[in-house]
């Protein structure tokens, strides 16, 4: 190259100086950020593990029958005998909280499963084909997004009548648009890759390309979505139960128990504390895990 100074393009210079100005994060800082991510992720998983133990071993963990009234021990304060106290029918709150994990997990798992099974293929096909199919699915998703989630769930529960099964369907349905939207954009980003073209050129069928080729490559955002979807499902499930539209008494359910406890906030405020704490910790642990996963899977994001 000649030694004459080329006129430096303005943007190029700025780019270079910008890079100089922005200090590179040191190795230690990056490791620290990684450790924080790992920590929140592990903490989240550990907490979820505790809840799962309650789901599986509820009869072992719970000291009392959660549904059996004891009229000799009504509205007792937390004590050694009753760790979280007793409710207006003398039932042990701790046992009810432990058994309450079962209903919440059941509803959340099945509804998120439903949302995944319907929303994921919808979004993948919309993103893969584009054009009219994409436009139709996208408008439909837009329309569903226009309904505030809880209100939509209430409308669905109006059809089915309150209950566990209806709550599962309602919570699953309101989660479908989000699943479709995320998988659609993941597909759009992924389908331009050469391996897709290669698969097409050797004559692979479209479902094969989508589910065997592309889906495994878009699993990152999908897994994150599923774990955050669980948090969302638990919040919605407990809210619906709180409104009396989810699991019905005497089934131990955090939301329904809180609705009962709401009547005793003057005389027995402790009734309201523990079922809510359980919801809070479960949702927190799901959010921690989901966020941690997102950061771990995407190195570019380095802890925004």
């Amino acid at each position: 190259m000649a030694t004459t100074l080329e006129p430096v393009e303005q943007t190029g210079l700025l780019d270079a100086t910008a890079r100089l100005r922005r200090p590179r994060r040191t190795l230690v800082a990056r490791m620290l950020a990684g450790a924080v991510t790992w920590k929140t992720f592990t903490l989240g998983l550990l907490l979820i593990g505790v809840f799962l133990l309650c789901v599986v071993f509820a009869p072992v963990v719970a000291p009392y029958d959660p549904a059996k009234p004891n009229f000799k021990a009504l509205l007792q304060q937390p004590s050694g005998g009753h760790l979280f106290g007793t409710d207006d029918k003398g039932r042990d709150i701790f046992s009810r909280v432990v058994y309450g994990t079962r209903v919440s997990f059941k509803i959340a798992v099945v509804s998120v499963g439903l949302a995944t099974l319907v929303g994921l293929p919808l979004g993948l096909f919309a993103g893969f084909y584009g054009g009219l199919i994409d436009a139709t699915i996208s408008r439909l998703v837009d329309a569903f997004f226009a309904f505030p989630p809880i209100l939509m769930a209430i409308a669905i529960l109006a059809i089915k009548g309150p209950g566990e099964q209806s709550a599962i369907i309602a919570i699953g349905l309101i989660a479908i648009p989000e699943f479709a939207r995320v998988s659609r954009s993941a597909m759009i980003a992924e389908k331009e890759n050469e391996y897709v073209l290669a698969a097409r050129s050797i004559g692979a069928s479209v479902p094969r390309i989508i589910f065997r080729g592309i889906l495994p490559n878009t699993l990152g955002p999908v897994v994150v979505l599923i774990s955050l979807g669980f948090a969302f499902a638990i919040l919605n499930e407990t809210a619906l139960s709180f409104l009396g539209l989810g699991a019905q008494p005497p089934t131990p359910s955090w939301g329904a128990d809180l609705a009962q406890a709401r009547r005793y906030i003057r005389d027995a405020p402790w009734l309201s504390i523990f079922p809510g704490l359980a919801i809070f910790f479960l949702v927190l642990s799901l959010n921690l895990t989901g966020d941690g996963l997102r950061d771990l899977m995407d190195p570019r994001r380095n802890r925004r």
């Binding site: 100086t17 309904f147 505030p148 948090a231 709180f242 539209l245 949702v283």
Partner: protein, 318 residues
Amino acid sequence: MGNYLLRRLLQGVPVLFLITAIVFMVVYFIPGDAAMVVLGQSATPERLEAMRHRMGLDEPLPIRYGLWLKQIAQGDLGQSLVYQLSVWTLIGRAFPITLYLTLFSLLIAVAIALPAGMLAALKRNSWIDLVATTWAFLGVSIPGFWLGIMLLIVFGVKLQWVPLSGYVSPFDDVGASLKTMILPSFTLGVFLSGPLTRYLRSSMLQTMSQEFVLVARAKGLAERKVIARHILRNSLIPFVTVIGVQLGYLIGGAVVIENVFALPGVGDLAVSAIGNRDYPVIQGVVLVVAAGFVLINIVIDVLYAILDPRIRVGRGAV
């Protein structure tokens, strides 16, 4: 600009149309006989048949949908089956309360998120950042109805600063009204402040790494001006859109929070309408809220276009 406005409004039409279809289908599949709700369990089969005919319930589905569309196009949402009132009257009574709750909590959420998100971005990785991001994280993990009950126990039962339930209109007594609304609005606002803080923080961080910020600094602008004129202004545009998206969650949250604080708003109306099988009311509430949500988002998109000319031209907005 007029062109963009028109295009955006036209895009809303198919969505609104789909919304009416979804609402109609939902109600169509509600079990139970509307005629029986009106006449009571003891009605004779002949009277039930006559009532079904009068209500158009014996027509086939597409005709019923067409009739209903015609009716709502004329602005008529029908009559409540339980109260001798039109659905509009019931919504008209309940809606201001929900609007009051929603706007008050939006105000609280922005009052929290604006400084929190800004400081977190400007002092990245400091303790302020840690506090703000932790707050944002806890905010979205706390179930709102539980937070509401806890606040009621502390401020209503123990400290007795606020009444435990009931609603006072601000037109009757401003002070008492604020007292009844502060806890529900705070509860709802906390939830919204979480995502808003996170969005503002990351959008500011993104803006701060842009070249025009470097230029502003390079030409010697005071840091205060760089932040106010260049960073904050450009970060607020996505922030405003996020508020629009979150409004849906806010209204959904309001349904539950109204129940906790016994406020006679739209959520309360919808929940009790389910119990009564008062389906014109359910239909009306869901339709009005969803249509309102679509309109709000169109307004926000238009505002966005006024703020940022790049959107008007170029790619047809998705």
